[in-house]
Symmetry: C2
Subunit: 330 residues, 2 copies
């Protein structure tokens, strides 16, 4: 049987277990030009929640469809030249054991690494951090780099790549435990617990020379505080708005836009990792080398069992994970 | 005597005549290394109001000082090598007949053109439009360019330079008269009266292919509407926030920031014209040629008499001017 989680209904406010519905159906048969893939790992991402709110860089989720999500799997049967049984592939075929897919919806993975790394640090997560920080944020050695959701999948990578780039690195995270961990284990210069209040003052103390690059995963209060502390010609790499995804009523926009953007000559620029995929191979090689050499710690947080996927995603929005959260399916 | 307008007190809400105070004092004597300049024209700019609110790209205005403002004048007496009696210079020496200034606070103007052009279209105003549109907005032929405050000093230039660049050009302005004039006299493809309400719908109709470049002079409701209509990888050149300068309580920030900035991969970038002054000569030559050839209409709105400066600046915020507003002092 093919076990599936369907996207059952649009959440009002926080997602809950009733956002999803469990079902079992027949394993599909691949047509000519398709492969049958068996899911090995599911990636859980804040974007999963954003897709429920409407059209983003992809169509909105529609109730009744299989819950979408980035995954890694193994080819079980192939009717596609160049893909063979046993190959490892990635794509967005969602929360299910099996899927039949055309080749254009898949990418074959050739990097030799454990699935735990291929699902995040050496894939979407790591590449988001790599391209967003280096190509959009463009830090120079000596810059102060701030990253929000710093203990998350992207944030842990951004902070460490920024350290490799010779920057002073400050992160925000929820809770003092995570903050201590960022400094002790991942080499951050400072970390601020945004739940403790007084974010602006705490950031000002942690960034005595101001902020040159802000890698924004969250929007919300940290963005407001960062805008007020940005240096002249600072860059804000807009990666996500996770503080506003899982809420009933989004907060107002940042008051400092566009006023401080003008007077400080700031650049705020959004990006999606797929925009950079023509240079994916090079970036993946570098990330793999940094991880292999121990210069970057790939932090993964693995949950076992497809049945746990909804609870794990709910946990992601409650800030329970450290690093990349993924579900081991088989 | 040296007639002066002092900045008398910080306005709460709209500026009024009591924001300024008239005084007369002795004509200053230039020291060694200074010139004595006689003011010919005063530039009135939305920025004059912004300086009253606090530190921007310059220090805030302090009550009691001569009201700041960009001006053009004629050297009356020079104790500076390279500057002679009769030379035309520009600088920010404020609302007064005479000032004694060191050379570093002046720029000598060598472009031969009437003062009405030198005060705006061939100076700060024109250069702001030129560099902001071409270097920050980076339009390509076929792009749709939106400019707010399109009937103003910068907006009239932006629209016409965008037309020269092969773009479809849409403007917003206050009142149907101004909108008709933008289309009829300045060659805009469409103009929207933002005071008539329904700005988003009207802009959507005027921009059937979306917006590629938004030159933002205003912030506020037009920025909100523009964000929702920007195309993928659109650019917003953040030049000013004039909708929020002359108000008691600024409006909330744009809700679409950072959400739509991410999903549409937008770039919002602030700039100040002085950042580009190393390339001023080239830009000024081009603007002068375009005006001389009639490819751009330099629209100026001249008020006679230093005594009229406060009323003219109040009028600027009431939207009474078309094009560059300046005061002829002598």
């Amino acid at each position: 049987m093919n076990r599936q989680w369907l996207y059952a209904k649009q959440p009002q406010g926080k997602i809950g277990t009733d956002t999803f519905q469990w079902t079992e159906t027949a394993i599909p048969a691949p047509k000519e030009g398709e492969i049958l893939v068996r899911t090995r790992m599911l990636s859980l991402d804040p974007a999963n929640r954003a897709w429920m709110m409407g059209k983003t860089y992809r169509d909105a989720l529609e109730p009744g469809q299989v819950m979408s999500g980035f995954a890694i799997g193994e080819v079980v049967e192939s009717k596609v030249p160049g893909l063979a049984k046993g190959d490892i592939v990635e794509g967005d075929w969602g929360w299910q054991d099996y899927a039949a897919l055309p080749a254009r919806r898949l990418v074959k993975r050739t990097t030799k690494a454990p699935l735990e790394l291929l699902i995040g640090p050496l894939s979407v997560t790591g590449l988001t951090a790599y391209f967003g920080l280096l190509e959009v944020g463009r830090p120079k050695p000596g810059d102060t780099v701030l990253v929000s959701a710093a203990a998350g999948a992207v944030g842990t990578m951004v902070g460490q790549i920024a350290k490799l780039s010779g920057c002073r690195v400050v992160g925000t995270a929820g809770g003092q435990d995570k903050c201590d961990w960022l400094v002790r284990e991942l080499g951050f210069d400072a970390a601020i617990d945004y739940k403790a209040g007084g974010v602006r003052r705490a950031l000002a103390a942690a960034c005595p020379d101001g902020i040159d690059v802000y890698f924004d995963n969250t929007g919300g209060a940290v963005l407001d505080a960062a805008l007020s502390l940005m240096n002249l010609r600072g860059r804000i790499a807009c990666c996500g708005n996770v503080s506003q995804y899982d809420v009933e009523k989004p907060a107002p926009g940042p008051m400092a836009v566009p006023g401080l953007v003008v007077t400080k000559r700031l650049r705020m620029e959004g990006f999606i990792v797929m925009d950079f995929y023509d240079r994916r191979a090079e970036a993946e090689r570098r990330l793999a080398r940094w991880v292999a050499e121990g210069r970057i710690k790939a932090v993964v947080d693995i949950v076992d069992g497809l049945d746990k996927a909804p609870a794990a995603l709910i946990g992601l929005f409650e800030g329970r994970n450290r690093g990349k959260m993924a579900v081991r399916v088989s």
